[in-house]
Symmetry: C2
DNA sequence: GCGTTACATGTCACTAAATGACATTGTAAA
DNA sequence: TTTACAATGTCATTTAGTGACATGTAACGC
């Protein structure tokens, strides 16, 4: 196993233990020592991985937004977002470990109102997701990554995703509402559609370039 | 002077000193002791006001988003957002202290890329602004505050404001671009318009109620 | 006016978070 | 094997942040 991959695993493992302990006793009553001990590493190692104990849950958040981003990156240009979600998002599409991680995330999100420190971690993860979205949208619309319009769209779309995540999590944990994946997908697609300031949700036809027949390569160069 | 008002002043004063020191030497090289000493209070007092030294800049952020929210709260229903901004936002409309605070904010925002701890504070302040927006939009559209549509719209609009703020600040500080207030206002209004998922930017006519002539009071009761 | 109350702040001891310095181990390539 | 390097462990140390209690001070009733 590659070195950096092993590091990522340690990181995630620490993150899972941190999340579990935070859920069991709250953040204030969980010490760095406890997290490290639970994961079976030295305390010093924990602080090598994280700048604060709250930020220890970020990899867990990042993990799930990364999986989501991965789906969007494989998004064929002629497919609408609803169809993409229908085809790619579902409990049967996920490894058991990922499913367990998602449950942890949902339970954490349900506590945002009580734990301000948790929200900072969540918002930072959303910011990370926003940067993924910038790339995805820029790529899909053949626009440069620095484009203000692209950044704006990524920000509003990420905001929509965040609100849906928070709402669904709260409904599930606090009110015991069992929403089906299909419903969540529809909810999510609809929110993203409404939030998006650029038309990236619909099929996009590759730009037609006036001078050349084979545009894609030159499009990349133009960026 | 009322007690809680005095507290708010102390809070803001601490926040300004924290911001100045963070800008001068960076967050890592600024200690809680230094911030407290600069503001002329005991270190213990600083920790009574803030849960962490980074969060000490939040009141400064909150202050400026609160002033912005105050403008939106006085927004007549028959006025479009562009006209509101034109009439209410401008350097001549602000107290000198507020102007100085805004400059601090802009300089802080220009450093978000270097200082992750600063971004957490900024994002938390944006979250606060989002909650103000929920009230403002709900009020303007005669919808309940808990409405998902309202929350979604508030989140996307706040995202737009955030992106404009970050972009303008970065442009001003790093590239010395002097943008006029009129330009920023237009930029902001346009971004908000594109981001909004509900039609609150345009004049809204008070709802016509089937049974009554004088709707506003009953509308409030309905909420 | 005076005492009473409530609350903000100061002082100081203390816990917990986070870092620095250096030794040790494990793993990958030469 | 040996070398090399990155990750982790150990321990001392610094800095962030809290608890407990004393002190000051402004508002309130009398």
């Amino acid at each position: 196993m590659s070195r950096s991959l092993a590091r990522e695993n340690t990181r995630l493992d620490l993150s899972r233990h941190a999340a579990r302990l935070f859920l069991e006793r709250g953040i204030a009553d969980t010490s760095g020592d406890q997290i490290a001990a639970a994961a079976g590493v030295a305390t010093r190692t924990l602080w090598r991985y994280f700048r604060s104990k709250e930020s220890a849950v970020e990899p867990l958040f990042a993990q799930s937004s990364l999986r989501f981003a991965a789906v969007l990156r494989r998004w064929p240009r002629e497919v609408a977002i609803e169809d993409l979600f229908h085809a790619s998002l579902g409990p049967d599409k996920q490894a058991p470990q990922d499913l367990a991680d998602d449950i942890l995330v949902v339970r954490l999100l349900a506590r945002l109102a009580d734990e301000p420190a948790l929200r900072t971690a969540w918002l930072m993860s959303c910011h990370l997701g926003e940067e993924h979205l910038i790339e995805i949208i820029a790529e899909r619309l053949d626009r440069p990554r620095g484009d203000f319009e692209v950044r704006l769209c990524a920000a509003t779309v990420m905001a929509a995703i965040r609100i849906v995540d928070e709402t669904v999590s709260l409904a599930a944990v606090k009110h015991g509402l069992k929403t089906t994946t299909a419903e969540v997908n529809e909810h999510l697609a609809q929110a993203i559609r409404r939030a998006s300031t650029l038309p990236f949700c619909d099929p996009v036809t590759p730009r037609i370039w006036p001078d050349e027949k084979h545009a894609p390569s030159s499009a990349k160069a133009a960026q």
